[in-house]
């Protein structure tokens, strides 16, 4: 049990190995810092975290060290004393900021980072409002094409070297380096190796100032107008925790959200930049029922009524003639509600799993160029859907086994198929021609999806799916970690979330409340028993004990 004293407040840090920046945070005290990051090696080069450090002796007296010391490189031990607001500490902080700003262009009005910039924040809290610098500032040229998605505004860089350390220690691709020395040092790439690795855009989050920019986001929106919501990426089974930044129902940006249970601090570029389909004007915007008379019906009320009664009619003639395909993109709640609805139509109705998109192999980082093996720090999984595990467990519960849609259709000919697709993405079709021709053989096709396709053209009922940014629910990643999604946008036009549609089909009243559904599921499906209470916290819950 170790006690550390921060600004005269005692904090028990237990037996954790912490540096003074982390120890101070436990006491609610911020020690400003730039170069320190918990996922990267410690360099203590920015000198922003300089504080007075001392020791409390057994007799109660406190002996402070004569020099200021970087908090990030100092381990917190029993009886360590930190003073962050003494004249000496404040003077060190103000000096560091004055030094950093000597060559800074001060172009906040045109800088993307304004509003979430550590230089602004720390200058405001710890710095001076005026500079004594009257000489010419260094003006190194900007590098707009450091990578496909990365621009470097060289004159804003404070040389914290986080980006360089990231490419060496986390991605292992080592594209970024420092050139020159002294006050002429700059970040750069080697001409033959631009910054294009799959984790590249994390350096934009890591950059404390507006030097590194994501071209995807550059100049599109001011951050103080964005609303931030916690959610989970739907790109693969890693299930990175994310922040969704939106304004007026438009998604502008995804950022990784720190989660020690999930992926840590970062996310891959495919996930980060792969949200544009959500804002696409091609999305199916209303439900449609092809009527024999030729006039299509678009009213939800009529379509829901018709769908329910048609399915019941099919089931009354053939109890096992109704089937539903659940895609691995549905949330656990959606899978459960749809399964419940289909089984209420006919207990003999069949539930099967939609195609699981797999691309290549799992992609492990850091990469190495030599033969020295390293610990894996990040993996982009080849299973490109977020909830196969969750949906499989739902299907297993209702069916006892999990069968893939293509295998099912090879051996069976259902009269009606409810295709709950909702595959998140616009570029690639989730079904191939074989599957399409198998679908087309089915008399009654109900397709619920995001984008129009040959399948929706061939379906009697077309129901729009919602994007993951519009849902609340639960994804279970490859390791059995259940995480909460929260909706950040209202679905556009006449789109309802998939879960809401199933609730309506079940004729259950009210709006979908994911926490209530979770609690319900926890009571009926043993695998999901830890969802009891419905709240998973921001870091999620492991549904099974990790090995």
């Amino acid at each position: 049990m170790a006690t550390v004293y921060i600004n005269d407040k005692a904090v028990d840090i237990g037996d954790k190995k912490l540096n003074l920046v982390q120890a101070a945070e436990l006491a609610g005290v911020t020690i400003p810092h730039y170069c320190y990051h918990p996922a990267l090696s410690v360099v203590a080069s920015c000198r922003m975290c300089l504080v007075e450090v001392g020791e409390k002796k057994p007799d109660g007296t406190v002996v402070m060290q004569p020099r200021v010391i970087p908090a990030c490189q100092t381990p917190a031990k029993d009886n360590t004393v930190i003073q962050t607001a003494t004249a000496k500490s404040k003077s060190a902080q103000a000096q560091t900021l004055e030094s950093i700003l000597l060559n800074h262009p001060l172009d906040c009005p045109v800088c993307d980072k304004a509003g979430e910039c550590k230089l602004q924040d720390y200058s405001y809290n710890y710095g001076n409002s005026e500079s004594r610098m009257v000489d010419d500032k260094n003006t190194p040229p900007n590098k707009p094409d450091l990578g496909n998605n990365i621009s470097l505004f060289t004159d804003r860089c404070i040389m914290c070297s986080r980006c360089v350390r990231f490419t060496r220690e986390i991605s292992g691709t080592a594209e970024l380096h420092v050139i020159n020395r002294g006050s002429h040092a700059e970040i750069d790439i080697f001409p033959t190796e631009p910054l294009n690795n799959k984790l590249a855009s994390n350096v934009v989050d890591l950059c404390p100032v507006g030097a590194l920019a994501s071209k995807d986001f550059l100049y599109t929106h001011r951050v103080w107008n964005l609303k931030t919501q916690d959610s989970v990426c739907a790109g693969c089974s890693t299930g990175c925790s994310i922040h969704l930044d939106t304004n007026k129902n438009v998604v502008y940006r995804l950022r990784p959200r720190e989660n020690p249970n999930a992926q840590g601090y970062f996310m891959c570029d495919d996930g980060r930049l792969g949200y544009h389909y959500v804002n696409s004007s091609n999305r199916i915007s209303k439900p449609n029922l092809k009527s024999d008379s030729g006039a299509d019906i678009s009213s939800w009320k009529d379509i829901m009524l018709s769908l329910r009664s048609e399915l019941k009619a099919v089931a009354s003639k053939n109890a096992s003639g109704v089937a539903a395909m659940l895609s691995p993109f549905l949330t656990v709640e959606e899978g459960f509600l749809l399964a419940t609805f289909i089984k209420s139509i006919s207990p003999k109705a069949k539930l099967v799993l939609g195609p699981v998109p797999v691309v290549g192999e799992d992609d492990h980082y850091p990469k190495t160029r030599g033969s020295v093996p390293v610990n894996v720090k990040f993996t982009i999984r080849n299973e490109k859907c977020p909830n196969k595990k969750g949906i499989e467990e739902v299907i297993k519960h209702f069916e006892g086994e999990v069968v893939l849609i293509s295998d099912y259709l090879n051996k069976n000919s259902p009269d009606a198929l409810f295709i709950a697709a909702g595959y998140q993405g616009e570029e690639v079709s989730w079904f191939d021609n074989n599957l399409l021709s198998q679908f087309k053989k089915i008399k009654l096709l109900i397709t619920q999806d995001l984008f129009p396709s040959a399948l929706t053209d061939a379906s009697k009922y077309v129901i729009p799916s919602a994007a993951f940014s519009e849902k609340e629910g639960t994804f279970v990643n490859y390791a059995g970690l259940a995480q909460e999604l929260h909706w950040a946008c209202v679905p556009l036009k006449q789109v309802r979330t998939d879960g809401q549609v199933y609730l309506d089909l079940l004729e259950r009243k009210g709006l979908l409340q994911a926490s209530n559904i979770r609690d319900e599921i926890s009571k009926s499906i043993p695998y999901f028993s830890r969802l009891a209470g419905g709240k998973l916290g921001s870091d999620g819950i492991h549904l099974v004990n990790l090995a």
């Binding site: 080592a174 020159n180 030599g370």
Partner: protein, 159 residues
């Protein structure tokens, strides 16, 4: 087309055996290449990186730190003539010497004469202060240099 000649590649490989880590051969490899080619080209960096199992950026990081290595855009002439500009030499006329050399050679520090013979550079203390003002002719000291013309002529004769 390989930028590194086979004998350089062999030398680099033999140096790898002397050090506990391949990266340590970065500086010796850069010296080997520059001494022979008078510069380290982009392709040479790529090949050195491959031999040392590093990224080209890591090699270039070290290379550009020193300001000593030239790229193929401004290779060294046959003679790198560096004039010390630190205090002891400054106190004994290094500035005048440099100006005379600039006039005589017709280039500013950092540039190479048109015939590709001399690259004039300024150096920080080269450690021959007992003979200030002094210069380095590639890596050999010349003390008590007061006659810029004679210096140039002597170098041309010797090299």
């Amino acid at each position: 087309m390989s930028a590194l000649k086979p004998e350089i590649v062999e030398k680099i490989k033999s140096l790898i055996l002397l050090y506990p880590a391949k990266q340590a051969v970065t500086l010796p490899a850069l010296h080997l290449v520059q001494d022979q080619e008078r510069c380290v080209s982009q392709q040479a960096i790529v090949e050195i990186a491959a031999l040392l199992e590093l990224s080209p950026a890591e090699i270039h990081d070290t290379m550009s730190f020193y300001g000593f290595f030239k790229t193929e855009l401004n290779p060294l002439g046959k003679c790198r003539l560096w004039v010390c500009r630190s205090l002891a030499c400054d106190l004994r006329g290094a500035d005048e010497l440099l100006n005379k050399l600039i006039t005589k050679l017709g280039v500013a520090p950092g540039q190479t004469t048109k015939d590709g013979f001399f690259t004039l550079e300024e150096a920080e203390c080269i450690g021959a202060c007992e003979g200030a003002p002094c210069v380095l002719i590639n890596d050999v000291h010349s003390h008590n240099v007061s006659d810029a013309d004679k210096l140039i002529d002597d170098i041309r004769k010797k090299l």
